[in-house]
Symmetry: C2
Subunit: 390 residues, 2 copies
């Protein structure tokens, strides 16, 4: 079971500590995504070096392969992937819908936006749950609130998520209302299925799209269940960044003050700074890892596209202000060479760097909140980020 303590605040921004059965997580925290029980290209010791304290793994993928029962037999997900820090699993719902939307693999490779019901032939939603086809072999599977909790408890994550539906932001109000009502009924079923005295702590998820009244209702009903933590779902699924920032700034303060607040699937470094300012404690996103594999590096001076010819003879590190292994050791010219040559080491170094950038940004935010200078920190970081690399 988790515990959460608020250590400091700066405006709406919060500095906290999440105690889990696998160690403490200082918040605000970013959770690297390890879809199939690995953060792509990295080993657990790389993540320890980055001071990552909590990872996210995808229930949908692990349910299909290698299977939650197999992982349970092998001693649980922590042991399986040799990760001694905290783990959070999602419920599988988002992947089921984004898989249907994309017609291919979800998770680390799912579209960041636009998921949901676009290929209804593959996914069928009923009051009972969701029927879907495996992206691996086309086999038919079923996830319900009860099943999603069972799978996550078998994996043994420290934080498990309620099974919900995550409609696209642009869906009609009528659809959002119906979906939200079902998601709220599912949330109560998740709560009943969950072993509250077990090691896995259940977080509720508030949906509601861009409709303030639906969000408020979702939060109030979820809060009434007195769960260990709460998440905002349904952001970064098709709306403009400014719409998301406004929505999060409005919704986050509605969540129970004494519980950890998690903004699911978000986002860019800018999104994180806005989310922290709004009072969010936890984030996850595939962006740093997926962009790394596409050769896009996040730096203190914005995005750097490593394949650009201008870096062919550039002996400087990717980000001279960065202290990660890649920046301490290699030049832009070498990283570009590796990327052009299709070398896995390049993808690995890019991933290491991008995650370092994200985790370092969060560490900076934590210090700034403690020292009462978060607004100045946010302004300074955003200005440098928007200036672009030299």
């Amino acid at each position: 079971m988790i515990g959460f303590r608020l250590l400091a605040t700066a405006g709406a921004a919060r500095r906290g500590r999440l105690e889990t059965p696998h160690g403490a997580v200082e918040t605000p925290a970013f959770m690297p995504v390890g879809t199939v029980a690995t953060v792509k290209t990295l080993a657990p010791r790389d993540l320890e070096e980055l001071s990552a304290r909590v990872l996210l793994a995808n229930t949908y993928h692990l349910f299909l392969r290698p299977g939650h029962e197999r992982i349970a037999r092998l001693g649980g997900l922590h042991r399986f992937m040799a990760w001694n820090g905290a783990l959070l699993t999602d419920s599988g719902g988002f992947q089921v819908y984004s898989l249907a939307g994309a017609g291919e693999v979800g998770g680390e490779d799912a579209p960041a936006a636009g998921g949901g019901r676009e290929a209804p032939g593959l996914v069928s939603i009923s009051e009972e749950g969701v029927s879907f086809q495996s992206h691996l072999d086309g086999s038919r599977h079923f996830l319900s609130p009860e099943k999603a909790i069972e799978v996550q408890e078998a994996l043994g994550a420290d934080v498990i998520m309620a099974f919900d539906e995550c409609p696209p932001s642009r869906a009609e109000r009528r659809y959002h209302e119906e979906s939200l009502a079902r998601t709220q009924r599912w949330l109560e079923r998740c709560r009943r299925a969950w072993r509250a005295d077990g090691p896995s702590s259940l977080f509720g998820i508030a949906q509601g799209g861009l409709f303030p009244d639906l969000r408020r209702r979702a939060v109030e009903e979820a809060a009434a269940l007195d769960l260990p933590g709460y998440a905002l779902g349904g952001y970064a699924v098709g709306e403009e960044p400014e719409e998301m920032w406004a929505g999060v700034a409005r919704d986050a303060p509605l969540l129970p003050r004494e519980k950890p607040r998690y903004l699911m699937g978000v986002g860019t470094p800018e999104d994180l700074l806005q989310g922290v300012a709004a009072g969010i404690d936890m984030f996850d996103c595939v962006l740093p890892t997926r962009c790394a594999r596409n050769g896009l590096l996040f730096t203190s001076r914005g995005k750097l596209v490593i394949r650009n010819a201008r870096y062919a003879d550039d002996g400087r590190p990717a980000d001279p202000a960065c202290t990660c292994y890649a920046c301490r050791t290699f030049s832009r010219a070498y990283l570009r060479h590796l990327f052009k040559a299709g070398e896995m080491l390049g993808l690995r170094l890019n991933t290491l760097h991008n995650l370092h950038h994200y985790l370092d940004l969060m560490a900076g935010a934590r210090r700034a909140i403690e020292e009462g200078r978060f607004q100045a920190f946010r302004k300074e970081r955003l200005e440098a980020y928007r200036a672009g690399p030299d």
Copy 2:
């Protein structure tokens, strides 16, 4: 400039030390292959952890991309790839021929056997040198003994190799005679082109296929040039292992006793044990790294195919006798899962393990020679290896 000292012998087997401008290399030594300035999937610190002291890089690939002049401008190959240990570069010749034979990428991905002149349209050999087409973009290039030395000196390797032709073992005697005569003339040109007072030490290569008299002549003519070291080329290019072992056992003792002896492109763990027994000091081969990426693990009990269904629930390490990071940390079930899911971490852990196996085998051989028990060591290791995994 290198130095070489013999520390102990056991029969024909030798225990030595190669001093280079980038540190000492204890011999017999295995050199991991870093074709395009990276040992695929591994970072320099991984190789340091494995106690690798010398790497091989491929001149052909680096000549084409990113170019030896660019690497020289960036401070040389050591600095470019952030490797502070010793480096050996081949001359590019083997890749030119195997590229022609395979019609695709050479180097780490070149066929281990069967290289040479099978697609003569792409490669044209004259007394002056070899004209060939880039596998990257089809552009036309020319390598000669002088050019190969110039490129290698620009890269700044500690050991550079003579430019030779490496015919398939099965080529006719007449072809071997003509090729060898030209290779010997090229060797003299390499010697003249080489800056003997520079940091790069030139090794001669003796060819001659499976013809004992040609091999003897090749060795004697090369030895007369009094180069810093010598290699046997043209093994593991199509002959049976027993033919190679017999040939190496016959040829190695002909090489100058006081110089390091290098068996190029060889081989399996069994080949290495036979080579050490014959008096070879240095080896390189793509097998441990390439096989790793195909899911084949070398263990003390032979080859283990990690994708096999029998390992799906196997909680044991790949090789319980191994002390590498992968074996200390992960189960066969996890390695299998990573491989089946196409995860890069799997290829990286497999690579780490296989190289550890090779380097550990060499370390064991060195100790056994020092302690006068190499024959027993070889017998014991071969028996265990041939028993197969449990």
